[in-house]
């Protein structure tokens, strides 16, 4: 099967492509209102009720007849895990992007929202909202290309230690929330002595405070509230946190690390403009095909392409915008990368495996970048 390619757009075509994407954004933004407000409030509501339900099941599990303890705790942990997934993805990630700022609701404000995850939302605003979304898939600019932990593209340097990458990838998946939390601390400079202990402590302070808060909440206060059920609640919370990490990792990796996504050298930033940026967002992202449930549970990152074109448009609009984005891409000969989660994640796993071994950009067949 030959690799799908995107047509190189002429200057004029590029401008028109950009204008069509701009117009789609403008149409959608002009139509925002009651329906979107109701949607995000419903998400908030489901997060709250599912959290309380999950935690309540974990709390009561210990006090149930013997045969019921494990089952109840397991269901509680899964529900709490799902609640955290919803909180982090459909609620937190989207709200922190400022998607619902137009509502003016302080609870749903992108600048202030804090989520139930190890990392601070401030840190996320910098690494994700700014660096990843502005410089998507640009080597040396977008740290999400492997998060400094994995080698996923032939352009990244190979080292014999990379052979252990499949194992690192698994550990990284289990500890994903921690990985995201420390991404911006750049511990490397501290380990190599370029930053003193004291400086590092200063830099890490907000992250450490958030970690303490999360640890105290999930592994001390909630377990203590269960009294003799302390360990059940503690274990359940740990399971819930890992479920969340595994799922978010899977979804996020499907967004930019499937086989046909393109990455870019820093040189694309010379003479860059908004239309170029749009083209790169399409070429550098991949969608997951599925229904409403998949959209909600992935925080609509199942529409990674639409999310990258319109990061601050309410995610509940992506499904309907996708129809038009796809149509525009087809007219301009731009490859629209989508597939089932099984197919897309299979490609991600292959990438993790393949690039743990030496690989070079020349050898890999790569579609031409439209520029």
């Amino acid at each position: 099967m030959s690799k799908p390619t995107s047509r190189v757009l002429s200057g004029d075509e590029l401008a028109r492509f950009g204008a069509e994407i701009d117009a789609l954004r403008a149409r959608t933004v002009a139509d925002l209102g009651e329906r979107d407000a109701r949607y995000i409030r419903n998400v908030y509501k489901v997060v709250r009720y599912s959290e309380i339900l999950g935690r309540a099941l974990l709390m009561v599990a210990w006090f149930l007849p013997e045969g019921w303890v494990f089952g109840t705790a397991a269901v509680g942990a899964v529900i709490l895990g799902l609640s955290k997934i919803l909180d982090n993805m459909e609620l937190g990630h989207n709200v922190i992007h400022g998607q619902y700022d137009w509502m003016g609701d302080p609870v749903l404000n992108g600048k202030n929202f804090e989520w139930d995850i190890m990392g601070t939302s401030d840190n996320w605003r910098k690494t994700h909202n700014f660096r990843h979304h502005t410089y998507t898939n640009i080597h040396g600019m977008d740290e999400d290309l492997g998060y400094g932990v994995l080698r996923l593209f032939p352009e990244q340097k190979w080292h014999p230690a990379r052979l252990g990458q499949p194992l690192y990838a698994l550990i990284f998946a289990i500890l994903f929330e921690w990985g995201v939390a420390i991404q911006d601390l750049r511990l490397g400079r501290w380990l190599t002595g370029r930053v003193t202990n004291k400086q590092m402590f200063q830099i890490s302070r907000p992250a450490l405070l958030k970690m303490r808060r999360q640890l105290v909440k999930d592994y001390l206060i909630w377990p203590l509230l269960a009294g003799p059920g302390f360990l059940v609640v503690l274990a359940g919370n740990a399971v819930a946190n890992v479920i969340r990490s595994l799922w978010t990792y899977t979804v996020i990796f499907c967004g930019h690390f499937t086989t046909d996504v393109q990455t870019f050298p820093k040189s694309v930033l010379k003479n860059d403009n908004r239309a170029h940026w749009y083209v790169r967002q399409v070429a550098g992202s991949s969608n997951l095909s599925g229904g409403f449930l998949l959209n909600v549970m992935t925080g609509n990152l199942s529409h990674q392409i639409e999310h990258h074109l319109f990061p601050d448009v309410p995610a509940n609009r992506y499904a309907e915008m996708a129809v038009q984005v796809r149509e525009i891409c087809a007219r301009y000969g731009q490859y629209y990368n989508t597939g089932s989660m099984v197919k897309q994640f299979g490609q991600v796993l292959w990438r993790i495996l393949r690039h743990s071994f030496p690989s070079s950009p020349q050898r890999a067949m790569r579609p031409k970048m439209a520029k």
């Binding site: 933004v29 009651e34 709250r48 400022g98 509502m103 609701d105 605003r125 700014f130 502005t134 990061p311």
Partner: protein, 361 residues
């Protein structure tokens, strides 16, 4: 509401949003820190005019008669805030009255007049406004009210009535038609009850006048006819800016004192003359005032003056540069829409100033 000591201890563990979500299931006006009020009564006051009686929660502040308050409700998903005058006087049970006239195309006034029901919750700001009475009012007072300008003056009139009318008060109240007169029955009753209170309705567009009603715009002849000698009067005027300006110039130098509040909003710069205009920007957090042109994004304009606001993508994507626009009108460069909603967040890389602004920078 939790006592303050308990609140202090609990604060580090409380996420106000989550707290509010759960307590609102018990009582929709309860909140960790937001001043909310529940609508407990609604009455039609006049044509297109409604009085809402509110029961505020413990976070709502006090007010003095004659003051206004910012009222916030969500309309079509958007929090919308406008100022309204409190028309009652401070009550033992803490209830507040707001009288709202529906303005044509007015988003919040239409919502409050037509859609707000008993049981709904509104968010309130702190009361503000200087047009209040001294602790011991004395002498002669003249209140000039036009249209919904009656609202603060009604509060002041009620306050004086509650003190058994310790002063000579004349209230002249202009409305377009009789159907638009608010509080007519109550005002007439007060005029009967208190000989020191003189009431005059002026109807500008009513076909047939009844006994005792005047007509016509404010004029010196009219003032002379209704009030007589102005020299001892302490004047409070409230109404549209045009009315207030007329009242000021007609009474200037002839009265003991004059204070007024007008309520036509400052007109934003139209796009045609926006290219060359400059506006004043107040940066509230850093306490700086400067002038910026309106043909650049606020970010570019601030940077041109050597400031370094927080910045990210410079293309409206990342929201790093978002700051709160406390006051003023701005233009969204992407949508071409102007917006003046106080307290809204704007991306300064994608926003131009349209009027003088206050930003939380």
């Amino acid at each position: 509401m939790a006592p303050s000591a308990l609140r202090k201890v609990a604060a580090p563990f409380v996420n106000p949003g989550i707290f509010d979500f759960w307590v609102s299931k018990l009582n929709p006006a309860w909140s960790w820190d937001r001043p909310l009020a529940r609508v407990v009564d609604r009455k039609v006051e006049a044509l297109d005019t409604v009085t809402l009686v509110l029961k505020p929660n413990a976070h709502c502040g006090k007010f003095v008669p004659g003051q206004h308050i910012n009222v916030t409700a969500e309309v079509n998903g958007r929090r919308t805030t406008r100022s309204y005058s409190l028309t009652g006087i401070p009550a033992r049970n803490g209830r507040l009255s707001l009288t709202i006239k529906r303005v044509d195309k007015g988003v919040l006034s239409t919502h409050l007049c037509q859609h707000t029901q008993v049981g709904d919750v509104l968010e309130l700001g702190a009361a503000f406004g200087e047009m209040t009475l001294p602790a011991k009012p004395e002498g002669e007072w003249l209140f000039l009210a036009a249209g919904s300008g009656i609202t603060p003056l009604m509060s002041l009139t009620r306050s004086l009535a509650a003190q058994n009318m310790p002063v000579d008060l004349t209230l002249i109240y202009w409305a377009k038609t009789r159907a638009e007169l608010c509080f007519a029955r109550e005002l007439r009753a007060l005029a009967v009850q208190f000989p020191r209170f003189k009431l005059q309705f002026v109807l500008e567009k009513e076909a047939q006048l009844l006994a005792g009603e005047e007509s016509g715009l404010i004029s010196s002849e009219q003032l002379a006819r209704v009030v007589g000698n102005l020299s001892a009067k302490q004047v409070y005027a409230c109404g549209p800016t045009g009315f207030v300006d007329a009242a000021r110039s007609l009474t200037e130098g002839q009265v003991r004192s004059f204070m007024a509040e007008g309520f036509t909003p400052m007109a934003p710069i139209t796009v045609a003359d926006a290219a060359t205009a400059t506006v004043k920007v107040h940066l509230a957090a850093s306490k700086r005032d400067l002038e910026i042109p309106t043909n650049l994004s606020i970010l570019d304009a601030l940077e041109a003056q050597g400031l370094k606001p927080k910045v990210g993508c410079r293309m409206g994507v990342c929201h790093s540069c978002v700051c709160t626009r406390a006051e003023g009108t701005t233009l969204d460069m992407q949508t071409g829409e102007q917006d003046a909603q106080p307290g809204m967040d704007v991306r300064i890389c994608m926003t131009r100033a349209r009027t003088d602004l206050t930003l939380d920078l």
